[in-house]
């Protein structure tokens, strides 16, 4: 036991003396949360639009005013003719053009119907989609207003309620994602690199030619990263609660326990990577390509897994981050208890045990 503690102490020396890496490890989660929280967001705000109003009557003025008033749109310019539309898009600033036909109000009043054309820049399909939806909603709102008290015999009104995330904030989605990413990076990559470093500098040879069970030295390597990860989880949670207003709905204890479990999974992955590589570069590449990318792509954090083709959905099941992401969302955002996530927890625990067993079995007592 005393030996083991000494080995852990040695790993702390390695970690604490590499100031730059340490700074990155502690700074990364903070920076990621801040960047995702305030800069990178797929919410659409203040998009520049243009208006082509060929009617210029009371109705169009009112709709334009409502568009202007919403936080989604900034009216950049008023176009004079249809020929101006294309050049306006080419400039690249304008994302949407709202076209009112001539005689808009009188057509509306006399025929009970009048068209409005929404032309969107669909180079980014998601933005185009969102913008046209917002604009349609505003126009629909106006229609309901002018309808006033007149009773239509049959109307269906949809009433929407956004559960768990009423303000539709993106941060509810990415906080769990960033947690998965950071844990993957800190644990899987850093442990694999630090184990492989021992092979590179030749100390692994000496460790092997000693009465010590080499695995103990390796396990000792995981402890500092486990601690570091828990600190990172702490800072992510504090930031998300106090800076991004993402509350922790469920049990904090359960959340921390699940994070702990996923940290062990990542450490096991790191150990596994180190058992199949011999250079730090390879270890890093495998961690980045083989672990980090799937975490981003298949966890559902950036792209919904449900929309993927079936083969990819099947593949996503072997990505541990997918399960972790699900668990954190369930506990943190939905406030569910352990009984709703025991299956996912079990899968994660199973993966961890498997990875540990394989890496221990693969751990070589000789050089070949």
């Amino acid at each position: 036991m005393k030996q083991f503690l000494f080995f852990i102490q040695k790993e702390f020396y390695h970690l604490l003396r590499d100031k730059r890496t340490l700074f990155i490890l502690f700074g990364m989660p903070v920076v990621q949360i801040v960047i995702f929280g305030f800069a990178l967001t797929n919410e659409v705000k203040n998009s520049r639009i243009a208006i082509l109003d060929q009617s210029k009557d009371e109705a169009t003025a009112s709709i334009i005013q409502q568009l202007e008033a919403s936080q989604y749109f900034d009216i950049e310019k008023n176009l004079q003719s249809e020929a101006d539309i294309e050049p306006a898009f080419r400039e690249g600033k304008i994302k949407l053009v709202v076209v009112f036909p001539s005689q808009f109000q009188s057509t509306l009043l006399h025929t009970n119907s009048s068209p409005i054309q929404l032309i969107a820049d669909a180079t980014d399909p998601n933005v185009a989609n969102t913008l046209t939806n917002y604009a349609s909603a505003i126009i629909l709102d106006y229609q309901n207003n002018i309808r006033g008290n007149q009773d239509f015999p049959y109307t269906i009104q949809t009433e929407m309620r956004m559960l768990y995330n009423p303000q539709m904030k993106g941060s509810y989605n990415f906080v769990p994602g960033v947690m998965a990413m950071v844990l993957m990076l800190v644990c899987a990559m850093m442990t694999s690199i630090s184990i492989v470093r021992e092979k590179e500098i030749g100390t692994m040879e000496v460790i092997l030619v000693s009465p010590m069970v080499p695995l103990r030295v390796v396990i000792a390597k995981m402890v500092p990263y486990l601690l570091l990860s828990m600190i990172n989880i702490g800072s992510i949670l504090v930031l998300s609660v106090f800076a991004l207003d993402v509350p922790i709905q469920g049990s904090l204890l359960l959340l921390v326990f699940e994070c702990f479990l996923f940290t062990i999974t990542s450490l096991a992955l790191g150990l596994f990577i180190s058992s199949i590589t011999n250079s730090q570069q390879t270890a890093m590449l495998i961690s980045l390509m083989g672990m980090f990318l799937p975490t981003i792509m298949f966890s559902g954090f950036m792209f919904p897994v449900e929309n993927m083709p079936l083969p990819l959905q099947v593949i996503s099941n072997i990505v541990p981050a997918k399960w972790f992401y699900y668990i954190v969302k369930a506990v943190m955002i939905k406030g569910l208890g352990f009984f709703s996530i025991w299956k996912e927890t079990l899968i994660l625990a199973g993966m961890t045990t498997m990875l540990m067993l394989i890496s221990i079995k693969k751990f070589k007592t000789r050089l070949e």
Partner: protein, 304 residues
């Protein structure tokens, strides 16, 4: 008493498509307390042999034992009692001298205090720098620290793979003195080196080339086996002199050695005739008869 026994060991590596033979039919014994040198250029198979003996690799054929334990079957026993300093061993650069030592001591379940008498001579030289990080030590100091780390658990057999490579001449000399000292503690030392001049400091040496041992003998025995008279020759233009001599039928061998070329004749000639014979072939400034060095013997063996 035999400390290390190697019996017809063979080892091959698969590289891309071809098979590289690293060791072929290696046989030798090292007795207890002996300072045994493996001398040979890079690629001779020294490191592979070390790895087989330190149980890090398995031989394709043949058997080997260290301290009476088989390197395959009893590898755990061997790992308890040998000290190993790999060639590319560079310690933990970010740990201090003291921390490096205590790490290796802990690894072997011991402490610096326990075996202080053994490492004392070496450790005293690096002790002034004990708070310094290993990365900031000079090459010679690093090797001394690595040697202390390999010795910390009082091994019965010590394997040193090219410990003096990349170390300056003074530190090399000091290092060899330390090894000589260690023999007093009845530690068997097997050391490899590409430097021929270090061979004379061993009790016995094995000259290795291309995975084969060409000769095993005491350094004195090896040089005595060099039967031909050897001449050191100096000339105005050394490069041209070497080319002319090598092209000549009367000259058997000619190798550059610092300021002189070492030359042997194809047919025996009286000593007094040597300078005259050489002058016939090329202009020479100085000719003197010299005893053969290990390197001369190595060159000679390589030619055969």
């Amino acid at each position: 008493m035999i400390a290390v026994k190697v019996d017809s060991v063979k080892k091959t590596f698969k590289a891309e498509k071809s098979v590289v033979t690293a060791l072929q039919q290696i046989n030798f014994d090292v007795s207890k307390g002996e300072l045994f040198g493996l001398i040979g250029p890079d690629g001779a198979g020294k490191t592979t042999l070390f790895r087989i003996l330190t149980t890090l690799m398995l031989a394709d054929e043949g058997t080997a034992s260290v301290d009476g334990f088989d390197v395959v079957r009893d590898y755990k026993e061997i790992r308890k009692r040998v000290g190993y300093m790999p060639g590319r061993f560079s310690l933990y650069q970010d740990l201090t001298v003291e921390e490096n030592l205590s790490f290796f001591a802990t690894l072997f379940n011991t402490s610096l205090e326990e075996n202080y008498d053994l490492v004392k001579a070496i450790y005293q030289q690096i002790e002034p720098f004990k708070k310094r990080r290993a990365g900031a030590l000079s090459g010679g100091m690093k090797q001394k620290l690595a040697l202390s780390c390999a010795l910390i658990h009082r091994p019965s057999v010590l394997f040193l793979d090219e410990p003096t490579t990349g170390v300056d001449a003074v530190s090399r000399k000091e290092f060899w003195e330390l090894l000589r000292d260690l023999q007093k503690h009845q530690i068997t030392i097997i050391v490899s080196t590409p430097y021929m001049d270090e061979a004379s400091l061993c009790d016995r040496v094995a000259l290795m080339q291309n995975g084969k041992i060409m000769e095993i003998n005491s350094p004195k025995g090896i040089t005595e086996n060099f039967k031909k008279p050897l001449w050191a020759v100096r000339g105005e233009n050394m490069y041209q002199l070497m080319q002319t001599l090598q092209a000549s039928e009367a000259i058997d061998s000619c190798y550059p050695f610092g300021q002189y070329h070492h030359v042997t004749f194809t047919h025996a000639i009286p000593d007094s005739q040597a300078e005259i014979e050489l002058a016939k072939i090329a202009p020479v400034l100085e000719v003197k008869k010299i005893p053969a060095t290990i390197e001369d013997c190595f060159m000679e063996l390589m030619r055969q």
